[in-house]
């Protein structure tokens, strides 16, 4: 069967179940394409020979009742994978080989998936362009020298470039939704507590969530139902009844109330984004949804709040990288000197910057003025959403304030880089689910995304709205395979 890598996850699963394709054929096709796609730099670690072996083994005794039967999948290199290098895009974890498996990756292997390799990302998931990775930039399959977004940049590039049928990323302030939007794919950040954080290299523990990235909404729903589980190993994992999201997926969203927050119409928003949003509202109406104007008055305080809370938690989480128990160690004259050199040489500049911001806002004399203040504003932001959800079932916004930018364009200006996450960060602060779907192109032909934000634990509802709108939008990603010689 030709063009295996062009098939969606759902098609591949069906073809394997119908015995029209073997796991080996599928795995081989994705390996071949990945081998031809080295210029994208999407992978940090390739595990092709083991993947092929596993696919052959699967075919010998195929269990076709599984949800991901013999499907090869590459995942973000932030998930600990037992006996396989896990770097988090950092020099400090350059040789770290976990002795345990993250819960979300274990969940996909339990359903028959096969690991293809580990995908590039910003160092410790801190970045919006994949440029902070120790392992180099990732190219966006849409155009050469264009960032794929971040931090799940390798993941986005690999799905859009058809190097993997689907992937898992993580999202702390937009790290799934922004790269999904930049590469023309679908990305879901689930409700906080839906997917276990066990075995994920920690960045900001009160914000981090793993989630699916896919070619379409149906595939995204299927992967979400596999990775979401209650896990006693993560004390913030929540024990609620999870849906079989893909089975319950429907495009009937008649009468659903969708809110349009006026505060997201930010100063200097490009016309193209404004236009995309207007079209999105029309698509939602065409699907039978009712559009309601709402207000989220504290929206403009979300980014400043995030840039206190996330670095504070990061400075605490990253204290463990001291050159003693694991990871890179620099030589030092004494213990303190060893710590300081290890962290100075082992972390990249963005990570150091965030650790220092976090250390400062938590330091004696500044805690109340910064950290406590931010936690209070975070409460106000969450209250805004609670209030809005008395009136609406979901909220529709653009995913990002622009399309993908050029590599190097924003690298030296941290604040302008941070502004990328203006529409996604409030969702993490409030712990809500949000999905980005591709919805159009800008004048340069680069993809643009729309975000649908739901109530906590209401993934089914936003998946349904996304599914219905996807049908109306009928988006076609413009991938020319420019990197394949």
């Amino acid at each position: 069967m030709s063009d295996i890598t062009r098939q969606s996850l759902s098609e591949l699963v069906k073809n394997i179940k119908d015995k029209k394709l073997s796991s080996e054929e599928v795995t081989k096709a994705f390996i071949d394409r990945s081998e031809k796609s080295k210029e994208l730099n999407a992978y940090i670690t390739e595990d092709y020979s083991t993947a092929l072996e596993k696919s052959k083994k699967f075919d010998q005794k195929p269990n076709l009742n599984l949800k991901l039967p013999g499907i090869p999948i590459a995942v973000k290199d932030l998930f600990c994978t037992k006996n396989i290098l896990t770097t988090a895009g950092s020099k400090i974890l350059n040789d770290f080989i976990p002795t345990y498996e993250s819960t979300v990756t274990q969940n996909i292997w339990n359903e028959g998936a096969i690991l293809l390799g580990k995908l590039n990302c910003d160092e410790f998931a801190m970045g919006s362009s994949n440029e902070t990775s120790f392992f180099g930039n990732v190219q966006n399959p849409i155009d050469k020298n264009l960032v794929p977004g971040g931090s799940s940049g390798g993941s986005a590039s690999a799905v859009a470039g058809q190097l993997t049928p689907i992937t898992i990323g993580t999202d702390t302030g937009g790290s799934i939704r922004q790269p999904a939007s930049f590469t023309g794919i679908v990305g879901l950040k689930p409700t906080y507590g839906s997917c276990s954080r066990y075995g994920i290299v920690a960045f900001a523990s009160s914000l981090d969530q793993a989630g699916p990235m896919a070619q379409n909404v149906k595939d995204c729903a299927l992967l979400q139902e596999v990775i979401s589980s209650y896990d006693p190993k993560d004390s913030t994992s929540i024990d609620f009844k999870r849906n079989e999201y893909s089975k319950k997926l429907t495009n009937n969203i008649k009468g659903k109330k969708i809110g349009i927050p006026k505060e997201y119409r930010v100063d200097g928003m490009p016309k193209e984004i404004e236009e995309l949003w207007r079209k999105g509202i029309q698509y939602a109406k065409d699907c039978g949804a009712e559009i309601i104007d709402i207000s989220l008055p504290n929206t403009s305080y979300a980014l400043p709040t995030y840039y206190i809370v996330a670095p504070a938690e990061a400075s605490s989480n990253l204290a463990r990288y001291d050159g003693v128990k694991y990871g890179f160690r620099a030589r030092g004259e004494n213990l303190i000197d060893m710590y300081e050199k290890t962290r100075s040489e082992g972390f990249g500049s963005e990570v150091q910057r965030r650790i220092m911001i976090g250390t400062y806002v938590l330091s004696s004399g500044y805690y109340d003025a910064y950290y406590l203040k931010a936690q209070k504003v975070r409460k106000l932001i969450k209250n805004d959403f609670d209030e809005a959800y008395n009136k609406v079932d979901a909220i529709l916004t653009p995913s990002t304030p622009s399309s993908a930018f050029k590599i190097g364009e924003k690298k030296d200006d941290p604040v302008s880089m941070y502004l990328n996450d203006i529409f996604t960060v409030p969702v993490n602060l409030a712990g809500l689910p949000g999905i980005s779907i591709p919805a159009g192109h800008d004048a340069k032909g680069y993809p643009l995304g729309l975000q649908i934000i739901g109530k906590a634990f209401d993934e089914q509802n936003i998946l349904n709205i996304a599914y219905a709108m996807e049908e109306k939008i009928n988006f076609k990603n413009k991938i020319t395979d420019w990197w394949i010689k």
């Binding site: 840039y307 694991y326 213990l335 962290r343 209070k376 975070r378 409460k379 106000l380 712990g431 906590a456």
Partner: protein
């Protein structure tokens, strides 16, 4: 308020990250522009607002205190930079 070189040196010490002069100068610039952006929060009155410490709004579950992993010393030591069989080895601390 602005962050000066002295503050950067202090934070560098607290966070156990050594910085040379050149890096320190860049950090002064970067952190000042970031904190200028953060200061926006001072526009909001929050005296009577409860801080949000967790979005999950559930109380932590209790579980029996049981040993679940035994004899994993090798696994724990495996990734240490200077593997010395039974211990983590660090530079001399006591003279």
């Amino acid at each position: 308020m602005s962050i000066d070189l002295k503050t950067i040196k202090h934070i560098s010490k607290l966070s156990r990250i050594s910085v040379d002069e050149q890096k320190a100068d860049k950090l002064v610039n970067d952190l000042n522009s970031i904190f200028k952006f953060i200061e926006k929060l001072n526009e909001l009155k929050t005296d009577n607002v409860e801080p949000l410490t967790s979005v999950a709004e559930t109380t932590l579950k209790l579980r029996p205190d049981e040993v679940k992993s035994k004899d994993i010393r090798e696994q724990i030591i495996k990734n240490s930079p200077q593997d010395n069989e039974d211990y983590f080895v660090v530079p001399k601390v006591i003279e």
